[in-house]
Symmetry: C2
């Protein structure tokens, strides 16, 4: 479902530049549950943004579900992302003027699917927010906002879900419930999950761990459960 070949990412910084990814090559099979681990600043978010069609690589090849991604226009990248990828941002990125339910419904509409209130409601119930459907993001706690962002990514039943620190603001009970939900989607629909995380709970529930350090892959462990 995903193939990366010598992916490099440079950020302009005044006269010089920051080399966030130094040549990352990786192949992911459909249905994998894969976590990227590594210190703060090691390149996890940068890599997930490129794989999730949110940002372009500076060099190298990115192939998503058989389609070459590097070099696409911003409009094509956006269409590909809305149809094929469910994304949970590290900073949630919820729309402030919309309620939790409206935020989730919007994801269905942007993904080219008919808005379906019952389906959006069920996605929020699945993450434990049945009582907070009509709240706006600033009326929710940090962990509740994160769970809205997760429901929004999962409601489209995408083939590929990318989640950047999905349990960072959750207690272990809510964290485990979210991971159970993701494993269920993985087993029932064969969805592929790519996480970034510092959380040992997440690392104990995936079947592959790729470790990054200073923009390079330093380990790649398959784990049997």
């Amino acid at each position: 479902i995903l193939s990366l070949d010598k992916v490099v990412k440079r950020y302009p910084m005044g006269q010089t530049e920051v080399l966030a990814l130094k040549g990352v090559s990786l192949t992911v099979e459909p249905g994998e549950l894969l976590a990227f681990a590594g210190p703060s600043g090691s390149g996890k978010t940068t890599l997930l943004n490129i794989v999730g069609c949110l940002d372009q690589a500076s060099e190298g090849e990115v192939i998503l579900d058989g389609q070459r991604v590097n070099g696409l226009s911003a409009a094509d990248l956006g269409r590909l992302r809305a149809e094929k990828v469910g994304f949970v941002f590290q900073s949630f990125n919820l729309i402030p003027v919309l309620s939790a339910l409206e935020n989730v419904e919007l994801a269905l509409r942007l993904g080219g699917q008919p808005p379906d209130r019952a389906r959006a409601e069920q996605a929020l119930v699945d993450v434990g927010l049945a009582d907070q459907l009509h709240r706006r993001p600033n009326q929710l706690s940090g962990g509740q906002q994160q769970r809205v962002a997760i429901a929004r990514a999962l409601v489209k039943a995408p083939k590929l879900v990318i989640a950047d620190e999905p349990t960072a603001n959750l207690d272990s009970v809510n964290g485990a419930a979210v991971l159970d939900l993701m494993r269920k989607l993985n087993e029932e629909r064969g969805a592929t999950f790519l996480f970034s995380t510092h959380d040992n709970l997440v690392l104990s529930r995936v079947n592959r761990i790729v470790r990054l350090r200073d923009g390079e892959i330093v380990a790649d462990e398959r784990v049997s459960r």
Copy 2:
């Protein structure tokens, strides 16, 4: 340094209201390292915002460093906060157009202290960001932004530091380094620390754990280290 008596917090929600805190009473001695734990949505951020003079309680008494806080004007609350409290927000709240160094320098100026570039620089070096001084928040990773927010709270050497999930976006190495820094300030200057957290690393490093559930204190354990 802090005394809460039957603190209640209600949020207006259409026709009804949400009862986020249902009557919380608590006394904190100077120099304590105290963590609030509890499920997502249990009231941790609401409590820290009231203690940190960012929000007003609906009922009850809040006394900070001998001064009654409830009923103060927004201007007086702001002055009290800038002088006495260092605050690390769950969502960082960095100023996007300022660099990491400028964000930290601003905290000194707002706290009524002379801007001191060397002191601001040292605070960023202490959290491992010596190479990122001149970056703006959108040029930093999630964990790096969180460490700027921590440096900004600590640079004023406040009597009371309030940190809402200070290690949520950090790997264990950076997390431990931040906690070591806070313990050092606690032991050398007698600063009081109030955290909220889901992180067992933090819970293993404090000397008191107060557990919240649905807006009430359900446990209060002193732990000797």
